[in-house]
Structures are given as structure tokens and as C-alpha cells.
Symmetry: C3
Subunit: 447 residues, 3 copies
């Protein structure tokens, strides 16, 4: 499809050599690094029969695969279909939304297996991977998909790969600080995935500020069917979020509880989103942007606390509030951020991930600080917060303090890291499009 | 998108204050009621370690979560994507189909957790919820989604919320009568979900009869891509129906058997649907309406009997028949119901849920009445029909009689309840659109 | 929608009597054959309680249902949504893609349950079916969906049913030869499903060569939204492929390992596909055809070896190569096959299934030949290759030889079977459309 060009379009957006080179070289690097480092965990290794005897397991069903694989597949769908289709709402950027999300996630999970592996699954010089590593890699990439939402339509695929490389690295460092050094709980990633990912992406898009973006304003909207495609993404994120928040929780009650809390929070969130979407519009009509996004805030906001004894009504309250905050954000905050702070946030991740992520971190800190042996039971209390070894004497209120510190660290990492990566992406070598060609598949795709 | 209005449109369809008020107040009520009543079941509570010892369980894998969570997620997809997208076939009502289904289901599952909880999971003043409650809440809401199909495009979102409130309540009462008082088996809900839900919805739409509906006839059709969106709904319902019918069956063989029977019935149903869709059309061409709907009748029609020893060939026969009945219904019965009985059934739920639901109830009664210790084994026989305690002496033929009574009770509840709720929805305060604006997203959505 | 007809259209494409007759008679045959032969396996039968005692199982969770049902559902989605939507890329053949795939798969799984049942689950005159049979039936039908891709848009629904009848039969014979006579491993079906299915389909389409197909060239392309629909198919195939390749592997480590290997291979494949899609196009733009298809080649190419100790980096290498081979195939080989060999391959299954299937067979043979007791452990080695009974003394290199023989047998069956079935389908009684009406839903569907 040939279309008339503005004379302003002098930028070279051809990917012909740059993109293939990056893809092939980086994939080769993956092959080499996997060859040196990555092996199967005992539960995926053919020596499993011996392992079973050593661990005194009587049945194959005790293999971690059966505890986590269904959740893994749900998370996998969220990353590739959920995020991918959620971003197809733009009328002329569906290929880019689904296709670039596919590209960056496929690269990101490999690099995340390595980065997270070095930090968490490194034994005798090898990274031993099992189903839990796959979930964590998907989680890590989730934070990149979130950041992608802020810059959607404005970057080249190479920029996205560069972003992924750095963000996965920083994510893993941040995650290590939180989980291992601060001994913080964050099973659904309110802090590590959402707060970090969103503020990172917002910082990047601030640095990449495009003053003339109104030149492509006609393409920033949706059409009827692109909104329906986006609802596929929304619903899969919404439906599978209980799996997301419970996927890496402890076996048994913790996984069970995390799923229930998330289910409740998400249900409440839909009601308050609809309410505020209607009331904030002059004619009282519902806005698909809110339905597509703010309904998910409830899942983000129980990310940290879902596996704790948040209780179903606690979850309802969190969902109630985050639906409101998120919808109000879309109506008032996004335009403000764009006009005053020059933060151009294509998908409104500030409303869907940043604020609900902060809420999630805070709720997590409070829920941890409020934990008692009475509510959790003696054993349950220790198990829920891993108060063993050097953490044997940590009290709930101290844990709450560390949880709060986790929020701060995530924010710091996001701002500093985002500024750094934003600066790199600003270099004029990555082949991004001119302002008038943003949000247009034609630039990088055969249409 | 502004469009010319007929002068007839005097109705006030603005939702600006009504919808937000209902959403917020009802959600607040949920928070309070959950706060008073809802807690975690022992398998989701942090005291699980103690529970495990008491129940003599050696492994976390024995937690009900691992028996049912994968099925729960499939059912969840059926309710939100399955029903939601199935109804997107209308050319200008995709937002309403997916969006209002989302709204009513999100509210409905919360209210169902309470209603079903009071009847079935109430202990020491608290409702204790686990994964099975989540499935049952989704099931209950499924019956509302079915009723929604009859009135699709003709009601305001507030009407749908009011409908949900009452229908969930009546569903729970009916379910209690069937499962607890009549001691009837209905794992896949042929009676409780489909028969009740469909006849309830048909009664409501009869009461809400709109004599001038042909004014919006041009919008009652589909366009090419809306039919493809609807096929997403169809296929997810079709593929996951084995999970639906097996989700709350007894652990082990019953879940296994229910999935197999449903798989078989659905496969047969596709063949006879295609056959009759072609033969009933002058030029022999296939009709997407039939493919989208009648192919699912086989799942409905084994809802009661799938966990019984229906056998694979029995399932094929049931699927064979229900595909025919359903397709013939679309061709001959739907126009008849509309012109003679003034039942305007947008999605044809009479063909997809009502008649197959009745078939399902009858097949269940027959299968139960035909049960023998020879076929089930001594233990299996008792386990399959819960012939313990006060039901120790119940014979298969008596059970068959009670099953048949269950159909009658469901029908009665549907007609009486539907008439009542229909009368309430007829009040001129709910903001429904004029006849010429039915089946049009523009009324309630920013388009 | 009425459209002007070329005068060339003299062919009678009416399905009014032919299609219903075939559907009904064949479905009746299924009912009779299931009635005579098919019963529940012990794990799905109501006698399970007794079975449990005999097998010394203490918990219902040991029922095979819980090991395999989540994977089954994923595979089910791949067959019906994955293949169905992958083929919706054509601008005017979405109904045919999704609808005919639905029809042939629904018939095929029934016939496959019988055919595979006679070969593998036949005891005392009965076929005993459980969840593993359902997976295998889906697998078998997968090979028919692949063949459908080659003839998409050019055949009548009756031809597709005839194709299914014969292909399922031949598939089962080939599978029996490979798995039982040659004692070959092929859990993900690189040979039995992909190599056989693809070369079978290519042979059929060669026999059905249409010299005037350029008359419908304008309909062979995609439109913007049809490409997005196709991406739904792509992503579900891609995401669930780890379930596909692990679904029928041994319990425990084998399932676990197969999922990880497939995950890795698919990730690598996306990168090299993107690279070659860009570099092979003058302007360096990405081509949706490649993204939709070649990204999946990595799943095909580890089909045989995924459950072996291929290792994550071995998987990356396989994915790396197959992405390249497949993309290059789309650019150079498909046009060549069409112009020189008269093989009209609508979906390019030669690139997505045939070549990667061959790679998969070869990689499997090499991986098997390279197996050592050191890598697998003494027990793991025997278990992984079933070196028990008469195969107790088979060595890895001999196994590798048999694996290679499996490729040859599959190719032979495909060519001979495909020629035979192609000849049958060429008979002028099946109601296929004229060349100028190919790739057009209007022929068989009410549009």
C-alpha cells in the first residue's frame, strides 16, 4: 500500500541490515551462553528416578511440573496474547503491537533465563532450569511488555530489542535486591514487575519525548474492530491473572489463596471501572479505553499480597480502589502527564501498571506488617514469610518496613535505569520513524 | 460518531448517574457482606499445614486446588471469552456483547459466592471458599450469560445488573432444591444452568416484548468479521466444554469420564449440525448462525449425565440428536416463537440451551434410572450417586424419578422467576433504548 | 451478497444433499462402531476404586487425568483455534478456514479414536479410552489440519471429509509401524504428524493441480484484519506447543523436559524468522506470512527429540536453524514448487511442516544415537527409550538407525497415500469450485 509522504520524512527506517544483524548475533550469543551455562533442573533431567529416591518421593505427580505447568501456560498466554492483543487497539498498528511484542518477548525470555538463572538457580557453574524458571522468565518479560506500552508506535524493533536487553538485566538485579537482600515477598510482582516496569517505561518515553507527535494524531485512535481485538487481550489478562499471581507461590494453600484473592480483586475492579468510566463522561457513555485497561488494575494491586492472608473482602477493597484510581488516571492524569511533563504514554501504563503497582506494594507492606501467628497459624506464619535461618527473628512490622523499602528500590532502579536506557535509545542509529509516521504499520511491515 | 436520529427517540438512555450509583453501591454491599461472611476454606487458609496433618495428607498435591484449578480456568474462559465473544456476531453490538457480559459476570460471581456460600459452604457463621466455590460461581453466572443471550441488544446495563441480582438468587435457590432436597445429580448443569437459565431468559424477553423491533432490523445481522469474532467464542466454548462438565465431579474417574463423554458428544454434534444446516437451506450453503451455536448443543445435552456411565457411544447418540434439534430449532422454531408467541430471542438460546438442556435433564434421568451395580461396581455405584446416609436405600429408578422432578422444578422456577423479574425490568426507569436504537453500541458506548 | 459470475462457472457446487448424506451416514457409522467397540479405560470407569486398590494407588491424584488433562486442553485449542485461525489469513475464506477445519477435526477425532484404538488400546475385543487417547486423536487430526493447509480454498467440504477418512487411516497405520514395529520415539510427532501430514497434503495438492488458479489470485491475499485473526492462530500454536510435545511423554521428568526444550526452540525460532523475513525483502520490511508461520517451525523441529536430553542449548540451535529454513522456504521455495513442480501450497505447509518435520526426524535420530547412560542415568536411559523386553539389547546407534527408518517410512506412506487419495479426490463428484471461485466463502457459505 503506497501512501503519500510528508516531505519531513527524511529518516531512514529501513531495517534490512540492522534488524537481522541484531537478531542473529544476539541469538548466537544465546546459543553460546546456554551451551556454557544452562542445563535441566533435577526434576526435568533424565536422572529424575534417582532424584525421586533421594527426595523420598513416591510418585511422579510430586514433580514440580504438575504443581506449576497449568499456571505457566496461563502466564504464557498473558504475555503473548494478553499483552500483544491488548495493544492492537490502534487502528493501524496491530501488526506492530502483536508482532513486536512477540519479538521482544521471545528474545527476552531467553535472556531472562540466563540473568535470573545466574542470580537464583546457579549451582556448580550451571544454571539448572525447570518450569519455575520458565514462569519467572515470562514474568520478567512482562515488565518489558509493560514498558513497551508507553512507547508503543514510536520506536523501531531494534530499539525494542535494545530496551529488552537492558530492562531484563536491570529487572534481574532489582529482583535480586528485593527477594534476596531485602527478603521481600512479591509473588505477583506488584513491585518487581509492575512498579519497576511501568516507571522504567515512563522514564524512557519521557526521554524520547517527541514534540511533534500530534502530526500522527489521526492514527492514535482506534476503530471498531481494533477495539474488539484489544478486548481479546484484556479478557485473557483478566481471566488468567489469578494464575499469574499464584504461579510461583508455595505449593498448597499459598497458590490456592493467591488465586482466590486475585479473582475477588479483579471482580470488584470491573464494577468501579464501569462506574467511573460512565460518570466521568458528559453523556455517561462507557469508554472502551477504560474497560480494556482499568479493569485489570485489581490484578496488579494484589500482586504482592495475594498469597498472604489478605482475605476475600480485603481483596474486594483493593480492587474497588484500584479500579477508581486507574479510570480517573486515564481521564485526568494521562493528558496532564503529556501536556505538562512531556510523558507520552501510548497505552496509559501509568494508570494500569504504575499507580496500581504502587498500591500493590503498599498493600503488601501493610498486609505483611499486620500478620499474626493467630491468623496464619504457627507453621503457616513461618512458611508464608520464610522466617527461617537468618530471618528467624524478623517480626511482621520489620517485614512491612522491608516491603516498603522494596517499593523505593524498585522506583529508584526504574528512574535511573530508564534514564540511562532512554539516553541510549535516543541515539540516531536505531531507525525509528518520524513523528508523522508513528503508529503506522506501513513503516516496518509489508501491508 | 454522530448519526441521524428518528424523532421517535425520546427515551433517556443516559447512564451517567444511574449506572455508577448501582455499580458503586452494590460493590460496597459486596465488600460489607464479604467482610462479615467470607473466609478461606481450610485448603486455602494459612493453617493448611495443620489441616494436612488432621486429614492425614502427605503431600500438597492433595490440595483440591490441583484437582480443579485447570478446569476452573477453562470454565472462566468460557464465561468471559466464550459467552462474551459468541455474542459479538451482531454488526454493531460487539462492545455491548463483550463489555456488558464482562460487567454482569464480574458482579454475578461475587453475589453467587455469597448466595451459593450460604446454601452450601456455611460453617460457624462463615462462608468458607475454595476453588470449587469459584467454579460454582462461574457456573451460576453462566446461567445469567445464557439469559443475556435472549435480550441481547435490547436492554440497558442497569437492567442487566438487576437481572443478574435476581437470577443469581433464584439460581441458588433452585440449585439448593435440586442438589440438596431432591438429591439430584447435575454436575454439568443441564437443569440448573441451561434449562433454568434459558427458560428464565425466554420468559424475561417475552415480558419485555418490543412490537416495533423491526425498526432496528438492519442492525440485527452480522458482518463478515463479526462472524469471525463470534467463532472465537464458539470454539472456546466447544473446546473447554469437557472441562465445564467435569469441573466439579468427584475426584478421579468421575472427572475423567465426564470429560470423555462431553468430548464425544460435542464431536458428533458438529457433524449433524453441518448436515442439517446445509440440507435446510435451498442452495445447500452452510449458515454461520448454526455453526456458531448448534455445534455446542452436544455439550449442554450431556451436562447431567457426563459423569455417569453414559459411555462414549451413548454420548455420540446424544450429540447426534441435539445437533439436529438445535439446528432445526434455528430454522423453524425461532421465527415461530417470535411471530406467534412474541418471544424475541436474539441469540436463539431456545435452540442452544433450552431444548438441549431439557434433553440433558431427560438423558440424565434415564441414565440414572438405568444404573446397575454391575456397570458401576459396588463402590462406584454408591459413590456416583452419593447413595449414603439417608439416601442409602434409594434405588436407581427412584433416583431417575427425582432427576425428572428436578427438570420440572427448574422449569417452574424459570417461568415464575422470569415473569417476576421481567415485570421489574419493564419499569420505565432503567434507561433502555427505543426500538430503533436496539442492537447499537452507540447508545451506551463512546464509539 | 450477490456478485457477478464469470460464465466459466458451470460446476455444480451445491452441497445440499451430498454433504448432509455424508455427515449423517458417517456419524451413524461412528455410533455403531463406538457401540460395538469403545468403552472407558479403567481410569475413567466407575470401577476405578477397585482398580486403585489393585494398582496400589493411594490417591485419586494418581489418575492419569491429572497428569495429562491440562496438556490435552492445550492441544485441543491448537487443533481447533490454532489451525483454524491460522488459516483465516485469506481475505474471503475465514468461514471456510475455521468452519471446515472444525468439521473435519470433529469427524477425524472420532475416527482416530477407533483406528488408533484398534492398534493401541484394544483389550478383549474392546477399545478402552482415556485422556491419552483423546490427545492422540487430536494429534492424528493435527496431521489432517496440516494437509488441509495445502489445499485450503480449493476443495469442497465433502472432499475434506473424504481426505480425513483416508488420512486418519493411513496415519494410524504409519504410526503403528513406527511406534510398534520400529519401536521409534516420536512424542511430538515430527515424523508421524508433520512429515507424514505435510508430504501427504503436498502430494494431494499436486494431484489436484489447477492450471487456471491465477483466476482467483485477487482472493489469495490477506487484508489487514484477516492477518490479525491469523495471528490468534499463530500465537496459540506457538504458546501451547510445549504442551503438544510433552502431552504424551512419560510422567515426570520426560514431560517436564519436553516442555522446556520446546519453549527454548520456539523462542530462538522467532528471532531468526524475523531476521530473515527482513533481510530477504528489498526494503527490509517484515512479512506477516513469515511471522505467522515460520515462527512455529521450531516447535515442529523438536517434536521427536523434545523428550530426550536434547538440552536447552541444543533446542536453541534447532530453533535457530528451522526459523531460517522455513522463512527462506517461503521466499524462494514456495514459488518454485508452484511454477516448476505444480505444487500449489496455499498455506506453505512445505515450509512450516514438511521441512521442519524432516529436520525434527533427523535431530531425533541423532539425539537418540548420541544417548549415553552417563547423560540419562542407568534407569533414565532404559525408561527414555523403552529399552525393555525384546528391545533390552538395542543400542543408541541402532535406535538412531530405526529413527531414521521412521522418516523414510513416513515419507513413503505420505507419497503413496497422498497419490491414492489425490486420485480419489480428483473424481468429478465432490462439488469443488471452479478456479475463479477458489478462496471464496460465498461458494459454500451464506455470506
Amino acid at each position: 500500500m503506497e501512501r503519500p509522504r510528508h516531505q519531513g520524512m527524511a529518516k531512514n527506517t529501513s531495517m534490512r541490515w540492522r534488524l537481522p544483524l541484531v537478531c542473529l548475533l544476539w541469538e548466537l550469543a544465546m546459543v553460546v551462553l546456554f551451551g556454557v551455562f544452562v542445563r535441566f533442573s533435577p526434576e526435568a533431567d533424565a536422572h529424575w528416578e534417582e532424584e525421586k529416591r533421594e527426595m523420598n518421593l513416591t510418585s511422579d505427580i510430586e514433580n514440580d511440573f504438575y504443581f506449576r505447568y497449568p499456571s505457566f501456560q496461563d502466564v504464557h498466554v498473558m504475555i503473548f496474547v494478553g499483552f500483544g492483543f491488548l495493544m492492537t487497539f490502534l487502528k493501524r498498528y496491530g501488526f506492530g503491537a502483536v508482532g513486536f511484542n512477540f519479538l521482544l518477548a521471545a528474545f527476552g525470555i531467553q535472556w531472562a533465563l540466563l540473568m535470573q538463572g545466574w542470580f537464583h538457580s546457579f549451582k556448580n557453574g550451571k544454571i539448572l532450569i525447570g518450569v519455575e524458571n520458565l514462569i519467572n522468565a515470562d514474568f520478567c518479560v512482562g515488565s518489558v511488555c509493560i514498558a513497551f506500552g508507553a512507547i508503543l508506535g514510536k520506536t523501531s524493533p531494534i530499539q525494542l530489542l535494545v530496551l529488552t536487553l537492558f530492562q531484563v538485566t536491570l529487572f534481574s538485579v532489582n529482583e535480586y535486591i528485593l527477594l534476596n537482600l531485602l527478603h521481600v515477598k512479591d509473588a505477583g510482582g506488584s513491585m518487581t514487575i509492575h512498579t519497576f516496569g511501568a516507571y522504567f517505561g515512563l522514564t524512557v518515553t519521557r526521554i524520547l519525548y517527541r514534540p511533534n507527535l500530534e502530526q500522527s494524531k489521526d492514527k492514535q485512535g482506534s476503530v471498531y474492530h481494533s477495539d474488539l481485538f484489544a478486548m481479546i487481550g484484556t479478557l485473557y489478562l483478566w481471566m488468567y491473572w489469578p494464575s499469574f499471581n499464584s504461579a510461583i507461590s508455595d505449593h498448597g494453600d499459598a497458590q490456592h489463596r493467591a488465586a482466590i484473592n486475585t479473582y475477588c480483586s479483579l471482580a470488584a475492579c470491573v464494577l468501579t471501572t464501569m462506574a467511573f468510566s460512565s460518570v466521568l463522561q458528559k453523556k455517561g457513555k462507557l469508554d472502551m479505553v477504560h474497560i480494556q485497561n482499568a479493569t485489570l488494575a485489581g490484578g496488579v494491586a494484589v500482586g504482592t499480597s495475594a498469597e498472604m492472608m489478605l482475605t476475600p473482602y480485603g481483596s474486594l477493597i483493593v480492587g474497588f480502589i484500584s479500579g477508581i484510581v486507574s479510570t480517573v488516571g486515564y481521564v485526568y492524569l494521562t493528558p496532564f502527564l503529556e501536556s505538562r511533563l512531556h510523558i507520552q504514554d501510548t497505552c496509559g501504563i501509568h494508570n494500569l501498571h504504575a499507580m496500581p503497582g504502587l498500591i500493590g506494594g503498599i498493600v503488601g507492606a501493610i498486609t505483611a506488617a499486620a500478620a499474626t501467628e493467630d491468623v496464619y497459624g504457627k507453621e503457616g506464619f513461618i512458611k508464608a514469610f520464610d522466617f527461617t535461618g537468618v530471618y528467624q527473628t524478623r517480626t511482621p512490622s520489620v517485614q512491612g518496613g522491608f516491603q516498603a523499602a522494596g517499593i523505593m528500590v524498585s522506583l529508584l532502579m526504574a528512574f535511573v535505569g530508564g534514564a540511562l536506557v532512554g539516553a541510549i535509545l535516543k541515539l540516531p542509529v536505531w531507525g525509528d520513524a518520524a513523528a508523522e509516521n508513528c503508529f503506522e504499520d506501513d513503516v516496518y511491515w509489508e501491508v
